[in-house]
């Protein structure tokens, strides 16, 4: 804590002299809240990124199967979630479905929903971003030259083997830039969890600026942190893209 003391002092001094009030840097209570919010945002981002990619892979597979039913269900899912507001989706899950599902009772005898706010936010955000991922993976898969699939078939690969060993690795490389963009959007969309009182970054920032009345400062901090988070993701994805690159495939 001692190492951070000069920083805290500097920001306290900044507040005293100029009125620019970054409470999170010198007030331990606000700092704890803020760090916790940042942590929740990171957690939410990681969980939804992984889940949405899984949804995308499964959905892209569902669009290519022979059964018209599975294809139809996948298409309806994609169109439904792409063309409706993510906020209303979250409300629908959190309020609507949660009310229909059974409740448990906690120690105080209060009704407690089976699935909490964080879990519903993860589920609905993963489904929302997943619907975009399905389209992204599909376009990647369709960009694979047909001769590759024929070659795999000629080598005796089953449909599943072809999908796992040929289509997925090649399609992934083709659609990585588009996937990066969607995941960036997903990180930004995690702010919607604010609406169902998940204590993520925007939510705690709102609490802090309500207490300390420092909206512009908190906002600037918020933007900077989101830009850093997005920057980390973009850097990671670019690094991954480079490490996966195969000469002769794509540009």
């Amino acid at each position: 804590m001692n190492a951070l003391a000069p920083i805290a002092d500097w920001f306290r001094h900044l507040n005293a002299t100029t009125g620019i009030n970054f409470t999170v840097f010198y007030d331990p209570f606000d700092a704890t809240r803020f760090v916790h919010g940042l942590w929740v945002t990171i957690e939410l981002s990681v969980v939804t990124i992984i889940a949405s990619v899984l949804v995308g892979v499964i959905g892209a597979w569902g669009q290519g199967v022979k059964s018209a039913w599975v294809r139809g269900v996948t298409w309806s899912y994609v169109e439904l979630f792409r063309n409706t507001p993510p906020l209303v989706q979250i409300y629908f899950f959190f309020f609507g479905l949660s009310a229909v599902l059974p409740h448990t009772h906690n120690g105080f005898g209060m009704a407690q929903p089976l699935i909490g706010g964080f879990a519903w936010a993860s589920i609905s955000l993963a489904l929302y971003a997943g619907s975009f991922n399905v389209e992204i993976f599909r376009s990647g898969i369709e960009a694979i030259p047909h001769s590759m699939l024929e070659a795999a078939e000629a080598l005796g690969y089953t449909r599943r083997q072809t999908y796992l060993n040929v289509i997925l690795p090649l399609g992934l490389r083709i659609c990585l830039p588009a996937l990066t963009n969607n995941l960036v959007n997903l990180i930004k969309t995690t702010t919607l969890a604010y609406a169902i009182a998940v204590p993520e970054l925007l939510y705690v920032s709102n609490q802090i600026w309500s207490d300390a009345e420092n909206v512009p400062e908190m906002m600037i901090l918020l933007f900077i942190i989101y830009i850093i988070l997005v920057g980390i993701l973009v850097a990671l994805m670019h690094w991954w893209e480079r490490s996966l690159r195969r000469p002769g495939l794509g540009t």
């Binding site: 139809g72 409706t84 507001p85 609507g96 009310a99 229909v100 990066t180 925007l202 906002m219 997005v230």
Partner: protein
């Protein structure tokens, strides 16, 4: 060179999808998807009806029908906000996009910084920013201007649209073959003439589908305005729920109904975008 927010391409949602050769025809999205959504609504309503311990005085369908005018009025506000933000975002975005392809370096860098800032900030955070920081009442000279919340929301939503439109413009201009620039230069066109009479008319066709896609995204994002207190369809849905006696069984059907409203409005835009994409693909 690819430091933080330089994205090599337009965001996925803004890019024309499935440019590569299709190995099978796209299963055309039909009215069935609308039916699917309606079915979801019906299922939710029936499940809620069945699971409801205390029977309502009115059935859920009757309640929905009764409150439809109120919800539609809220939905109309969403549409208005989406129109105004799109108009604002497009006008500013075209200017910013032209800045992105300008020849003077300071102008290009400023536009780049602005674009990246507004593209990488969460929409909701920008909305909060505008709601809190724009004054409710302004006086410019003798002119009194009051900014109600929904107008602030228009500005807050218009800014990310602006940045995305700028990227679309840049992408469109970049997609035109450099030979076009060279050819027009050799014909003695000035830079402005090249841009406005040669490049942009060609790029326009390619910019239209991602622009429409952006509109669809914006429309769904207008619901964010409800969080900052605008009386839009989501806020009204909350009011309807309260007016109908806060019945938990009503929650799912009402929100499914709002989803349906948006689907009905956005879906034709999605279809039109896809058609246009296919058409431009053939021509170019």
């Amino acid at each position: 060179m690819s430091d933080l927010p330089v994205f090599p391409k337009l965001p996925a949602a803004l890019r024309p999808r499935a440019r590569a050769g299709l190995s099978f025809a796209l299963p055309r999205l039909t009215i069935w998807h609308g039916f699917g959504l309606t079915a979801l609504l019906l299922i939710c309503a029936s499940v809620a009806q069945a699971a409801n311990p205390a029977p309502l005085q009115k059935s859920i369908f009757a309640t929905l029908v009764q409150w439809t005018p109120l919800l539609l009025r809220g939905f109309l506000l969403n549409i208005e906000i989406s129109f105004l933000s799109m108009a604002m975002g497009t006008i500013l975005g075209i200017a910013l996009g032209l800045g992105l392809v300008a020849q003077t370096k300071p102008l290009r860098q400023t536009s780049w910084a602005l674009t990246q800032f507004f593209r990488n900030a969460p929409w909701l955070a920008l909305l909060f920013f505008m709601i809190y920081l724009l004054p409710y009442h302004m006086r410019i000279g003798g002119l009194h201007i009051s900014l109600p919340d929904w107008l602030k929301a228009v500005v807050g939503l218009g800014l990310p649209v602006m940045a995305n439109v700028a990227e679309i413009v840049r992408g469109g201009v970049r997609s035109i073959h450099p030979g076009q620039w060279e050819a027009s230069e050799s014909l003695g066109f000035t830079r402005n003439q090249q841009l406005f009479s040669i490049i942009l008319p060609q790029a326009f066709k390619r910019m239209l589908p991602p622009w429409m896609n952006l509109y669809a995204i914006l429309t769904t994002n207008t619901t964010l305005a409800s969080i900052v207190g605008v009386n839009d369809v989501v806020t009204r849905a909350g009011q309807v729920l309260a007016a109908a006696g806060n019945n938990p069984g009503l929650l799912a059907p009402v929100y499914a109904y709002v989803l349906l409203l948006f689907f009905i409005y956005t879906y034709p835009v999605a279809i039109a975008t896809r058609r246009l994409e296919r058409r431009t693909k053939v021509r170019i």
